[in-house]
């Protein structure tokens, strides 16, 4: 089904997990990359080699190992800046995951020690998110309004799983809008450039949770028109323990520091400190060194395969999956059921069978790994009146054969619970 130029079998050979068998000889059918992706040898080997032969702390060390580690770490920053089209490498901040990146920005608002008017926040000020957000793009803002007395507002979601975008929700009172670029449940790709324009029109800032888009599409932060973009290494064939905040340099300079400590300072006295220039201002303590280096290798890997090719491959898989799932009686897709403005994440409910049971039987009998539950998007599920869904999500290493396995598995599930 996929084009000749995209050799998925060759790609699968790069991922050692596909050479293993699950207990009792089940094969592994991994359809849970929206949760976290598998890792290619290129990433694993880069990390292993660095840990074994070149490891040391970065920045502060003045010896061969220190230089090698610092080089590798800062080169990773260059690679990631290039990957998302950041105008400057200094705009790439390494965090531990996307959640930290989102919290970092949330904590920049309403800090009494910072007087930049874009970041002051109090009663009367508003924050706008949406009902389809991941908890990591909801809870940081809830905590912020609890600390400051600001108001949280949100866009709804339409019945077919689109952002119910009402420009009027963004007003002169709005300080920041933060929405997903692509939903981790619905697969929906949001009209972020339009929302960004509206936010800027009223003088608000805009943050994009790109955790589900950067791994799967060519993304250029400048084209998106955003002020802040968060994404996470483990979903893009990179390691755990590393995430990224990209933000416009001018904003990073205006924001108060978030975590304090070594590396983020210029000079420290007992009673006051001055801070390092960006990006280091936001990287307190020893950073996830080997993890950043691993993410650099991940970005090299994705670039070599080609983000356009990956996007096209996932599109093929998504079309195939939507077709096949539509044929299953009692199955209802939650989210857009066309390919328009959507990525390779397909969530669904099956009449009369709890998703927990669906997922567990798929795993137990067929080795098919999907995610079941609310996928850290409980409000979205409440919106659709269901406690949970089953979600299949695709990546560069998946095949149409694996979607066939999913479909066979679902038929079996229906038989078990008939």
């Amino acid at each position: 089904m996929t084009s000749i130029s995209f050799d998925v079998e060759k790609i699968r050979k790069d991922f050692p997990v596909f050479s293993r068998e699950l207990p009792d000889g089940r094969p592994l059918v991994y359809l849970d990359s929206g949760n976290s992706s598998q890792k290619p040898n290129q990433v694993i080997e880069t990390m292993r080699e660095h840990l074994a032969l070149h490891y040391s702390n970065v920045g502060r060390a003045m010896h061969v190992l220190g230089a090698e580690s610092t080089d590798a770490y800062e080169n990773a920053r260059d690679k990631i800046a290039g990957f998302v089209g950041a105008p400057s490498r200094d705009e790439v901040i390494f965090t531990k995951n996307a959640s930290e990146a989102l919290n970092l920005v949330a904590y920049s608002f309403g800090n009494p020690a910072n007087t930049d008017p874009r970041f002051t926040l109090g009663p009367g000020d508003e924050i706008v998110i949406s009902e389809m957000e991941h908890h990591s793009n909801i809870v940081p803002w809830q905590l912020l309004v609890q600390r400051t007395g600001a108001t949280l507002k949100w866009f709804g979601v339409t019945d077919d799983g689109r952002l119910d975008y009402a420009p009027g929700l963004i007003t002169e009172r709005t300080k920041i809008v933060s929405i997903a670029h692509q939903s981790n449940v619905l697969g929906t790709v949001n009209p972020v450039a339009e929302v960004a324009r509206r936010a800027h029109e009223v003088g608000a800032l805009i943050m994009l949770d790109a955790s589900q888009s950067v791994p799967h599409h060519p993304v250029d932060v400048t084209e998106l028109g955003a002020d802040f973009v968060a994404f996470t290494g483990h979903k893009m064939v990179g390691p755990s323990g590393i995430g990224v905040l990209w933000a416009r340099a001018e904003l990073l300079e205006a924001m108060p520091p978030f975590l304090g400590g070594g590396e983020m300072i210029e000079a420290v006295w007992m009673d006051r400190s001055t801070y390092a220039p960006i990006p280091h201002k936001f990287e307190a303590g020893t950073p996830p060194i080997v993890e950043a280096i691993g993410l650099g290798a991940a970005v090299d890997y994705l670039t070599e395969v080609g983000m356009d090719a990956i996007e096209a491959h996932e599109r093929t898989l998504t079309a195939y999956a939507l077709d096949a799932l539509r044929d299953i009686p009692g199955l209802r897709i939650i989210g857009p059921d066309s390919l328009e403005q959507r990525g390779g994440t397909v969530s669904f409910a099956i009449e009369g069978i709890h998703p927990h049971d669906v997922g567990q039987i798929l795993d137990d009998r067929f080795g098919v790994a999907v995610r079941v539950g609310h996928h850290c998007a409980r409000p979205l599920h409440l919106r659709f009146g269901i406690p949970a869904t089953t979600r299949a999500s695709f990546y560069l290493y998946n095949t149409t054969g694996e979607i066939d396995a999913l479909v066979r598995g679902l038929h079996h599930v229906q038989k078990v619970f008939a």
């Binding site: 207990p23 009792d24 709890h354 998703p355 927990h356 049971d357 567990q360 039987i361 137990d364 009998r365 539950g373 609310h374 409980r378 406690p387 949970a388 078990v416 619970f417």
Partner: protein, 145 residues
Amino acid sequence: MIGESMYQELILEHYKHPQGRGLREPYDAEVHHVNPTCGDEITLRVKVGDAGKVLDVSYEGQGCSISQAAASVLYELATGSTVEETLAVVDEFTRLMQGRGQIEPDEDVLGDAVAFAGVAKFPARVKCALLSWMAYKDAVVRSAE
């Protein structure tokens, strides 16, 4: 496959043919428990008789097969035993569920409930299995008040 499977025949059997389901009179205490992460719910009543004998456990709820089967197994284990005996089983069941698959279950104490051992490896499912058992413990405490 049997060894690995969480879906022991026994669990499916209880799910499809739940024992003791339905809310009955008389009862000493009624509780309503919810698992907010997955929306599972249970309403449960207990009736305790002389010498701490559990005369009835009746319940109504919704959720996945694990949570429903766990309530059915609970019903079978509890009715006819003493409160004290059943609380020992609840404790052992809780220990098993929270043991992250590291704990050898005591089959003598657990009886059929040992079929849930596989659940312990999936933290997200542990709450499903425990929902009715925690509700029962709660109800028993209240019935003694």
